[in-house]
């Protein structure tokens, strides 16, 4: 490349400025195009205060219901995780370049990418439409959405397996099952465990909110109480959600310290 070429330098400076132009245009368009009345926020002070005051004090009489809802959320997360582990084991194997021909692993990889690209809340809405309200659509939605990520992780773990020790054990007389047990599994197990725990944590977080579209768990009750203006009850559940998220964080820190 000759820096003295005037055409080339003009092209270079264009390449440098066009991202800024695009970003600037996007901001202008977003700000002007929609009817966002900032004044509403300014005038809403009273309403916000009222809204908050109706949340206080949180109605603890629904404690029983709250616990049940929380357990339902936990159940959705656990069953959804089991579902995505099973699907990921199968799809991860098919997506691994070291296991299947390209004609199989490439489309499966693409499918996994698509599965994780569809927002969970959208999947949940579709599942509610398909199987009705309750925890079942939540479980199915979690399993489907999480497989997009976990299947990819599993495929990575499978592809990371070094074949040399597997061949060495075969040469020493180990059977296929023995090779899987003593050469393949020890190489993958720590990764699989780490990825699965990570995905379970995400599933738990996400299942808290799933109920908003009718797919069971705490979210379902929050949404019901907000719609019927029982903000004090919704507040109780919101506190529980915050507590659960904090608990997840604590467990996470503890686990990370353990695995070091």
């Amino acid at each position: 490349m000759k820096p003295t070429d005037p055409d080339e330098s003009r092209r270079a400076s264009w390449r440098a400025v066009w991202p800024s132009l695009v970003i600037g245009a996007a901001i202008l368009w977003a700000g002007i195009g929609s009817d966002i009345e900032l004044s509403r926020v300014a005038n809403a002070g009273g309403r916000i205060a009222e809204f908050l005051s109706r949340m206080f004090p949180p109605d603890l009489s629904i404690a029983r219901e709250a616990v049940d809802a929380t357990l339902e959320t936990l159940r959705i997360a656990i069953l959804g995780t089991i579902g995505c582990i099973l699907a990921s084991a199968a799809l991860g194997f098919l997506a691994a370049e070291s296991m299947t021909p390209r004609a199989i692993n490439a489309p499966v990889k693409a499918m996994l990418a698509l599965m994780r690209a569809i927002p969970l809340i959208l999947v949940a809405m579709l599942m509610v439409g398909a199987v009705g309200l309750g925890p079942l659509p939540g479980i199915l939605a979690i399993a489907f959405h999480a497989t997009g990520m976990l299947g990819k992780f599993y495929a990575d773990a499978i592809e990371g397996v070094d074949r040399a020790p597997v061949a060495a054990l075969e040469s020493a007389g180990a059977t296929l099952l023995q090779r899987l047990r003593y050469a393949v599994w020890p190489q993958m197990a720590p990764d699989l465990l780490r990825d699965t725990v990570f995905r379970f944590e995400l599933n738990l977080r996400e299942s808290l909110i799933l109920g908003v579209v009718g797919a069971g768990g705490v979210g379902f009750y929050i949404q019901t109480y907000v719609r019927s203006f029982q903000y004090d009850k919704a507040a109780t559940l919101t506190i529980i959600v915050v507590l659960i998220v904090l608990l997840i964080e604590l467990a996470n820190t503890w686990l990370r310290r353990l695995s070091r």
Partner: protein, 265 residues
């Protein structure tokens, strides 16, 4: 098995092999008979075909032409030998081929997998004999002191000794070693060659090992086979392989310009 069969550890007749997509044979026109109890050093410049020949004897080489009988089992160019045959031939890999995330002991114990029933092994149930063979192999290879360390926490020479111990624990009738002393200090190297020789002598098994240290290797072998460009350039006693012949074997390789350096044992 008749007495005549067991007299030979391996018989190769007119064996050729070429890796897919290559223009040159990796080994060509190999005629070779290994007698039981022999200790054979395999030498020759890099790329001469040593690893290929060893993997052929180990039953891992696919697509060769010619006849290959190992421990009275005729090798099939298309598939691996049956389990009991594989268990009889032990191999020490040039790149060690250890399970990195497993402990030293587990790696050595893997050498026993060909001898235990499948179910017992899947549930980690090894016999007393297995455990004592593993302990003895680790003691012999001098790795007992770090037997519980993970393989990926070891030095190159330590890892090599784990690979050696795995093969010892297997108690094979034919022991094949691909550069088993490449990562060892001179003292250790001698000790390991001595150990392999003694083990083979004690069990009346057969040893074939490759090495880039011909002078050292010759001291622990009763037969030397030199490969060059995939063919056998010398096959005979170590005593008759003099410096001139040795220099010739290594000089034929375009890449190595200073054979005398290699002769330092």
């Amino acid at each position: 098995m008749t007495a005549a069969d067991s007299e030979f550890a391996a018989v190769l007749t007119g064996v050729f092999h070429r890796y897919p997509g290559e223009v040159r044979d990796s080994i060509s026109a190999i005629d070779l008979t290994l007698r039981s109890g022999e200790r054979v050093a395999l030498i020759g410049p890099s790329g001469a075909g040593k690893s290929t020949l060893l993997s052929l004897l180990d039953g891992r080489l696919r697509g060769f032409r010619g006849g290959a009988i190992v421990l009275s089992n005729a090798l099939d160019a298309r598939r691996a030998p049956p389990r009991n045959e594989r268990a009889k031939v032990g191999f020490i890999f040039q790149e060690f081929a250890l399970v990195e995330r497993a402990s030293v002991r587990e790696n050595v114990r893997n050498g026993r997998l060909g001898r235990v029933t499948q179910m017992a092994a899947l549930f980690n149930r090894f016999s007393e004999a297995d455990h004592s063979a593993v302990d003895r192999a680790m003691a012999d290879a001098g790795i007992l002191e770090f037997s519980e360390k993970r393989a990926d926490c070891l030095s190159g020479g330590q890892r090599q000794r784990v690979a050696i111990a795995r093969c010892l624990a297997q108690e094979p009738q034919l022991m094949l070693a691909d550069e088993p002393i490449s990562n060892l200090d001179p003292l250790r190297a001698e000790k390991i060659l001595q150990l392999l020789g003694q083990t083979v002598g004690r069990r009346n098994s057969t040893l074939m090992f490759s090495s880039h240290q011909p002078v050292l290797a010759m001291r622990y072998a009763d037969r030397v086979i030199a490969l060059n460009n995939g063919s056998i350039a010398y096959d005979g006693s170590p005593e008759k392989l003099d410096r001139v012949l040795l220099a010739e074997i290594y000089a034929n390789d375009k890449g190595s310009d200073c054979p005398s350096l290699r002769l330092v044992g």
